[in-house]
């Protein structure tokens, strides 16, 4: 589904991603962990097409198509979704109109007619229950005045509504209390199928207790320095990043 090959990217002339390779197949869940500032959000932003990030090397194929060449809206229409670490507040754009516009544009891209009002409302109601988001929030301006947890659940509502092939969740678990975390995790587990895939960016093993990943990758200083299965996350929790760094320097000295 997603094939990242030696991806390098910089922002304002500063190199941040220093050659990342990663392959995600349909049906898989990948967790990406790493210390603050290691480039996790940068990777997510580059994949989603944020203009301020410049791709300086490597390539990315999404369902066989060159992702980097695509406009951000086309990436979304092709089935890529990013749940933002910091969702933007947009006063004056109602949550519900926003969702309807997004669905209409994605369907138009695929040559499908817009949903009728009833179809849309039914879909919304169903997905809203999935993330247990109050109707009053759905009718409000997009994210305006939402609490941190409400913003994150709203991201998952959008994810559920747009039904993407690949969803990247950038620290969706941060700032959630345990109940909200369970709701979000349950939502993801219900949305999970053989045909879609998830990339979970997180600092905490806690999320991975609820959503069990197939693979765990550690991103450090713009590179994936270690990959493994779910046990890697547990080990990381126990021993911390210094352990990985030490291992890395041992390897480095061996190869000298």
């Amino acid at each position: 589904m997603l094939n990242i090959n030696d991806l390098q990217a910089s922002v304002e002339g500063k190199e941040i991603l220093k050659g990342i390779s990663l392959r995600v197949n349909a049906g898989e869940i990948h967790a990406i962990m790493g210390p603050n500032g290691s480039g996790k959000s940068t990777l997510a932003s580059v994949l989603a097409g944020k203009e301020s990030y410049e791709v300086t090397g490597g390539n990315v194929l999404f369902e066989g198509k060159d992702l980097i060449e695509m406009a951000p809206e086309d990436r979304a229409r092709e089935g890529l979704f990013l749940a933002f670490q910091y969702p933007v507040e947009i006063p004056g754009v109602s949550n519900i109109n926003f969702l309807k516009t997004a669905i209409t544009e994605i369907r138009a891209y695929k040559g499908l007619p817009p949903l009728s009002s009833r179809e849309f409302m039914n879909l919304l109601k169903e997905k809203q229950e999935l993330v247990e988001l109050k109707t009053s929030l759905v009718n409000r301006s997009l994210n305006e005045g939402f609490s941190g947890g409400e913003k994150k659940r709203n991201e998952i509502l959008q994810l559920a509504m747009l039904d993407p092939k690949l969803a990247i969740l950038d620290e969706t678990d941060s700032g959630l209390d345990i109940d909200a975390l369970r709701i979000v995790a349950n939502g993801v587990n219900k949305l999970r199928t053989e045909n879609n895939a998830f990339m979970l960016i997180t600092h905490y093993q806690r999320l991975l207790d609820y959503i069990v990943p197939d693979f765990v990758h550690i991103l450090y200083d713009g590179k994936i320095i270690k990959s493994g299965t779910k046990e890697l996350a547990l080990e990381l929790e126990e021993k911390g990043y210094d352990w990985v760094k030490e291992e890395l320097s041992v390897q480095a000295s061996h190869s000298l």
Binding site: A48, E73, G92, N97, P114, L162
Partner: protein
Amino acid sequence: MEKGIFNNFYKDLINYFENGLPASRLTEPGWLSEKREAAFNLFKEKGFPSRKNEEWRFTNLERFLADDFKFRVQNGADKVSAEIEDFEASRIRIVNGRFAADLSDPLPDGMTFMDTSAALSDPRFAGKFGSIADDRESSMLALNTAFARDYSILHIAANAIIKKPLHISHIYTEQTGPSFIPYRTLVIAEKLSEATLVETFHSDAAAPVFVSFVSEQQIDESAVFHSHMINTLGENVYFVQHREVLQFRNSVLNNSNITLGDTPLIRNDLNFRLQGTGTETNLLGAYLLSGGQHVDNHTLVDHRMPNCNSNELYKGILQDKSHAVFNGKVFVRPDAQKTNAFQKNNNLLLSNQATVNSKPQLEIFADDVKCSHGSTVGQMNNDALFYLKARGIGEETARRLLMEAFVFDIISRLEIPALREYTAGLLKRKLHTDNLVIA
């Protein structure tokens, strides 16, 4: 001679007043003739204000007054759609400055509307004309005083609580040649009354029209007056408005000033003089400009007495080569202790060929007051734009949604649902979002 504009239009006007006065003028009351004479002399001396006049620094009238404007015989307004859908209101139409009785409704008890002859013959209002808007410096006001062809009075009786809003449609329909339409209204809201006035401005003009509209308003003690202006004028109309509002003790005035048309020139001078204590004044404004439109809003809130509150928020979007001017004066005079005065002007500048001149002007002469003002000129929020695009919304649609949202912030504060709908519709039409399925 002064630093004014003395063009052909000016010369025609001088000649018209001195030599060609219409017969109707001869039957006017003496007090009015005197006022006209004095105003004419002021206008004759000063001419139209040029950019050398500080108040007109950013608005070059000369450019707009190049046509050969004349007083012309006017005809009907059947073709212009001036309705607001689902709006429960009494309707009055003023066509080319003149009250159109056949197109107007009877008014509820406590509310009276008088046309020129009724207004001038009613002894209660003798001498009122020009007594509220009495600025002796303004040659544009003098122009109107000297030449106003039509005059009407809206009177709201003391203690009358009038639930049903009054909707006045101002319609300009010139078809024959460049035409000059100067006219004036007086609003008197008496003690303890409450009323709502919605004024919409429409045009279907094949030839250029230069409108000079003056509205004098007196809001008496403890009266509440809601007033809305929605300007949808088209490409041929040059619109200059002077509005002078006197507010007395404990009165409340709400005004919204929304520009969503295509007219090349709007200049509004909106002055609010707070003559009594405990008044409240809320001003909202919105403008969405495109092409070469030029919209200049000058507002003045003059705190003369203690314990008054004023709040002003104007927001605008500029596209293409448009030009917006905002000059917001707030005066807090020495007697006006315990004043609360807030003012804000926010602009979204979407083209590097568009211009905003935003000047909040706060002058405080009292010490125990709370005042603030601010003005911003910003670009499209790229993070918001990216957020929308990341959900599959195309660039164009995303931009329009954000523009709509910026102005909607003002529109959503209008208290009348039909008015919100109406202005939202105008906004969508202007942004070409009306054909999008986003409702």
